[in-house]
Assembly symmetry: C2
Homo-oligomer: 367 residues x 2
């Protein structure tokens, strides 16, 4: 969908015109009160559920969660997936042409924040004729958007579902993002972010960024269970510094290679920066309770015990701040071995918990 | 010191001749039984204590631990620091000339293992006329060498002091090493490891490797305490993907820059590989108790609660295996906030514990 009304950005710039790619699942009811907005994290898109006919492996990234009869049941809810500004899956981003210059944006694409994304998403809802959402839901960076929705548009959502998320990144999270960004920016093929004109892609940097990301998405436990110290080729050691020796090396290289084939380097910088910047408490002297006082939605928060990227303690900070504001909050800490990735996986307790919550939303109407 | 007798390597190769740089502190006593060997970790050297006259900031890397009146008291012990083969601080390594080809080794330097280092260190002791060490001591990778000493030369040491170490790396540790290695190897200035001939250094890769290393050396806690979300320049956000915004970014970039000025890229590959390969239990069907049955030394093991790189649980594995073999073991788990780096820092409980242990060694003689 095209938008012509300029979008002022938190960083000071303006996007004069932009496109948002989105998908919907299910039907908007007559009361227009059954819409659920799904917000994506770093490398996902508007394609949250279902698959494209005749296209193998085209399942949406949250297809285990969203669909007919699934925890977020699209026979009951009208689900909207939207690709965020600055991403590389259809919505306006660094690979597109800057109307001001006629050249590809590249590194000139303005820094966009979680707050900016929410503003853009709200305009999409306006265009779709949806005043109030039944829920906004997301995991990780998507959970930050759900939280931000409850603060920027408290009247436009009844429920916020914030999964494996945090009220801001801690120093270690920022540090990992920075290493990934430096790997990309210092790749000679980055060309200051204008690599498109050179017909190259900074794949080396993207590979490193993705390998590093994968380490932080998994738990120590699951890595030891899946890979441990297993060798790639039989039992004979090669004694090589550069050849693959351990299976974990092969796994990471494969993930890095795949990612570098489809993901945009400038998008990686933009999205990790949106993560770094998100911090609703900053304007409230780091008082999260004060920051969340504006929220009026009901909340479901979920965390996973082995998630060391967005640890349960970070979810509990949000729970405490909401409770201090006497908001209605459900919180579950799921004992799952998979680390941060758990929010995308088939943990039965997790999925039934979300199912039960959405059944309550459905039953409660305006709750 | 030069060695002309070829050194067969675990990986199958041979070093026909090599040099070992070493330093000693204190005096070897008449009984020749007060020698303590200090083994270094990734980026350290033989310069473990004291400083070079007239040279500012030349303190040895373990100067808080070793010296006159210090926990490892050089008025009582004869302390030896040795630079390992493949390193870049004087001992034979990838920056030196391969006598077989007349060219700089570069990537052709053979993969060396913890076991190889111990063999080379034993020859140095032969040359110094030291039959049996009072102790071998090291932290992290240095602790692996101390453990390996107890297995390869059980009669040549009375005590093994193994600090912040592990009986092998787990999958996550190998994964971090692999990301660092890929950053170096895929840097166009690496030239397959023969960058010396091109007059360049793969600094981009070294920077990334070091930034990543620093994240794993620190605890989440200490990062939040030292840096948190503090901005580098006042309170105004820059909204930039490439400029430094947070202090943690500045810290990491600085560490990366410094490191890339002095450390050798091939050495980084070699030493991380030595870490990956170390696994004395592998030859015993992953039975650590069986692997450690050969050890006859007395042990002191120390771990630090917030060390997530070499977690206390890994030290406890070694303690259990030694106890199962009815070896004499002292173990301390120090409640320190600093993560893996704690083994190099001034924690009073830690330093007095090591002091007390060495007083016992000194009192006990052949104990």
């Amino acid at each position: 969908m095209s938008f012509d009304q300029p979008l002022p950005l938190q960083g000071g710039g303006v996007l004069s015109a932009y496109q948002l790619s989105y998908e919907t699942y299910g039907e908007l009811n007559a009361a227009r009160d059954n819409a659920v907005l799904i917000c994506h994290a770093l490398n996902a898109s508007h394609h949250v559920a279902g698959h494209y006919p005749g296209q193998a492996k085209s399942e949406g990234w949250w297809d285990n969660m969203i669909g007919p009869g699934k925890p977020v049941d699209t026979t009951r809810f009208f689900v909207i997936g939207v690709n965020n500004l600055g991403s590389c899956f259809g919505s306006t981003g660094p690979m597109h042409t800057n109307p001001a210059t006629g050249r590809v944006y590249g590194a000139d694409f303005p820094v966009v924040t979680v707050e900016d994304w929410v503003q853009a998403q709200a305009r999409l809802l306006d265009a779709l004729g949806i005043g109030q959402l039944a829920a906004v839901m997301g995991g990780s960076l998507g959970g930050m958007q759900a939280l931000s929705w409850s603060l920027q548009f408290p009247d436009r959502l009844r429920h916020a579902v914030v999964i494996a998320s945090a009220p801001n990144l801690n120093a270690e999270n920022i540090a990992f993002n920075e290493v990934a960004r430096r790997a990309i920016v210092t790749d000679p093929d980055f060309h200051g972010g204008h690599f498109y004109a050179h017909g190259v892609v900074p794949k080396r940097g993207l590979r490193i960024a993705r390998m590093l990301g994968h380490i932080t998405y998994l738990s120590d436990d699951v890595m030891n269970t899946k890979f441990g110290r297993l060798l790639q080729n039989g039992e004979a050691l090669k004694y090589s510094t550069q050849e693959i020796e351990f299976q974990i090396e092969s796994y990471l290289r494969h993930q890095g290679d795949k990612f570098s084939e489809y993901f945009d380097a400038n998008t990686y910088l933009l999205i990790t920066r949106a993560l770094d910047y998100f911090d609703p408490a900053r304007a409230f002297n780091n008082n999260l309770t004060a920051a969340l006082a504006r929220a009026s939605a009901q909340f479901l928060l979920v965390s996973f015990t082995t998630d060391w990227r967005f640890a349960p303690s970070r979810s509990r900070e949000m729970v405490q701040a909401l409770v201090a504001n006497q908001r209605q909050v459900s919180y579950a800490e799921i004992d799952a071995p998979h680390g941060h990735d758990a929010f995308l996986l088939d943990d039965p307790r997790y999925l039934s918990l979300v199912r039960a919550y959405f059944e309550r939303i459905g039953a409660g109407g305006a709750a």
